[in-house]
Each structure stands twice: as structure tokens, then as C-alpha cells.
Symmetry: C2
């Protein structure tokens, strides 16, 4: 969804991205993010400031790109033997990660430096990919499954909405209630 060209793994572009992202993470830990500047990141990463401005636009877009990368799932959802068990476990973990203080900071950064919505779109695509893995597994087991977009609406959206807009209850029982509503099989759940 990004208008930027694909990054070839191992190419110069990928190496620049890796060193600049690492520099941001280190410097945020050392000096805090309010003191961060593009020249400081460039010096640490061993690139020129203009390389950063050309590729990321400004510091806020760079912080957004780094945040999206931190929100990328590190592993496939666990296989616990049934759709319901897999979705419960995934939803609980997603809620935990997103509602944690670092998760909230990354979501915020991802949205702030994202004038055209492509960074936020990547966050949503990560969640959809994880859900797709769980659903494909359930299909192989012969279980009926809801559609990915329905799980986005009924599980992902309420969690993200409450994190951003409506403080309150965000616990494992809430995650499981949302899953119940997504897999309950009433008319309109879009089973395929």
C-alpha cells in the first residue's frame, strides 16, 4: 500500500532502513524521544541527514515507520487445536500488546507521522495476516470459519477503539467476549 518502491532485502535500501531504525530505537532509549533530531539519528546511523529527509520526509514520519515495524508480529499465532482456542489466545495477546504502554506509544506514533494512512494500513494488514493464518488452519481442520473482515470489525476494531478513544475495561475476559460475538454463527456473521 506504500507508494514507495519495494525494498530489496539485503540491498542498500534495506541496510539504510535497518541502521536508521536501530539508531532511532537506541537514541529514544538514551536521550528520550522529545530530544531526538534527524541529524542526531543520521550521525548514529552513519548516513547523511538528507538521506533521511529524502526517504522519510521528517522525524515524525520516521518515528511512525519505526513504530509500525515494532507493531509487526514476531511469530505466527499459536496452534491450540481449534478455531475458538486459537482466536481466544490471539485476541488476548493482541489486546495485551496493543494496550501496554509501549504498544500505545507505537500506535500513537504510527498514526501521527502518517499523512496518507499507509502506516496505519500496515498495522491493520499485520492483524489481518495473523487472523488469516488462524482461519486457514481452521479450514484445514474442517471447521466453519467467519470472514477476516468480520473478525476485524468485531475483535480488532473494539480493542483499538477503546485504546484510542475510550478508557476502561481491556482485559482477557473482554477479548474473549469479542471473539464470542465474532464466531457465534448467527445470521449476518458472514460464514463462508
Amino acid at each position: 500500500m506504500s507508494p514507495r518502491p519495494m525494498v530489496r532485502p539485503g540491498g542498500r535500501s534495506a541496510r539504510v532502513q535497518k541502521s536508521v531504525h536501530a539508531a532511532v530505537r537506541e537514541l529514544v532509549g538514551e536521550v528520550g524521544r522529545d530530544a531526538l533530531t534527524v541529524p542526531m539519528v543520521a550521525a548514529r546511523a552513519g548516513v547523511t541527514p538528507s538521506t533521511i529527509y529524502r526517504r522519510w520526509g521528517d522525524l515524525q514520519e520516521l518515528l511512525s515507520d519505526v513504530a509500525v515495524e515494532r507493531l509487526r508480529p514476531e511469530a505466527e499465532p499459536a496452534d491450540l487445536g481449534s478455531l475458538r482456542a486459537d482466536l481466544d489466545a490471539w485476541a488476548e495477546q493482541f489486546l495485551d500488546e496493543m494496550a501496554s504502554p509501549p504498544g500505545r506509544a507505537y500506535i500513537r506514533d504510527a498514526l501521527l507521522g502518517d499523512p496518507d494512512g499507509t502506516h496505519a494500513g500496515r498495522c491493520s494488514a499485520y492483524a489481518a495476516e495473523q487472523i488469516d493464518i488462524v482461519l486457514a488452519r481452521a479450514v484445514r481442520r474442517g471447521e466453519p470459519v467467519p470472514e477476516t473482515e468480520l473478525l476485524i470489525d468485531r475483535v480488532v476494531a473494539p480493542i483499538m477503539y477503546r485504546i484510542l478513544f475510550r478508557p476502561g475495561r481491556l482485559d482477557a475476559a473482554y477479548a474473549r467476549e469479542l471473539v464470542t460475538n465474532a464466531v457465534s454463527g448467527e445470521p449476518g456473521t458472514g460464514r463462508r
Copy 2:
């Protein structure tokens, strides 16, 4: 939810807010928001820049406060004679307003200049108040009603999530599908 003291209507504080908000709206129309500065807003509003810094912190927080004010509903939801009709009409209008270009810009501004989440919380409270009006009316008619928080999860959250994170289908039929899921009365819908 704001830590700031209540504003007494008609008092000096309310007059300052009104003139500063009006100045922001006028100047955004005249010079565009990227050219806006606090001294420019102060001059137009007839206050000192320090009045603005003291009350709003910085330009981004002021823009956020103005955006939240623009997101405040102007009227009660229409009374169309039944819960379903009222919710359909309200959800369609909410989707239209939030997904419009100005709506998206206000949501974005509201989130950006909002370090402690109180502005986003006000947006969510406006939606909950509108829903409460619809539900109270249905209770007076003798209709069974779901809980407000369930409507937030099932109608408001998916609309806001898709606006912020997942471009795609945002039309009246989608709004009505969300309402169907909220009022379908299956176990777990939290009827009271």
C-alpha cells in the same frame, strides 16, 4: 474528564475560548493550517499569546480542542418511531460525518494534540450520549434495548477503526449491517 476547571458559560474563560476557537476556524480557512501560528491566532482573537499557551499548551493541543468541538453533535438523533430505525439513521449519519474529509481531519487533529487522551475521550462521550438518547426513547416505547457499551463496540468502533486504519467500504449498508449485529438479541448482546 479534562483536568482543567469547568468553564462557566458567559464568564471570561468561556469568552476567551469562543474567540480563540473562532480565530482558529477563520485563519485555517484564510491561510491554511500549516501556516497557522499561536501569535497569529492570538492577534485575531484579541488575546495575548501567553493566554493561549497557558490554557492550551501549544498549537497542536489548541487545534485538537477546536477539532473536538467541531465533532460535537449539533442536534439529538431523529425520532423515527423505533429503536431499529433510530439506530440505522444515527449510524448512517455518524459514518457520513466521520468519514467525510472534514470529519477525518477533525478526528486526526483531535488525536494528535491530545497527550493524555481526554480529547479523544470527549469524542467518544459525544457518541455515547447520542446513543443514550436513542436507547432512552426506546425504553419509553417499551422496546428491549442493548447496552450503550455494546453499541460502542459493535457500531462506533468498526466505523472509527476503518476510518483510521483500514481503507475500504464505508457506506450506509455497512452501517446498517453493524446495527443488525448490535440489536440481534443473541446471547451475549447484553440486553438489560
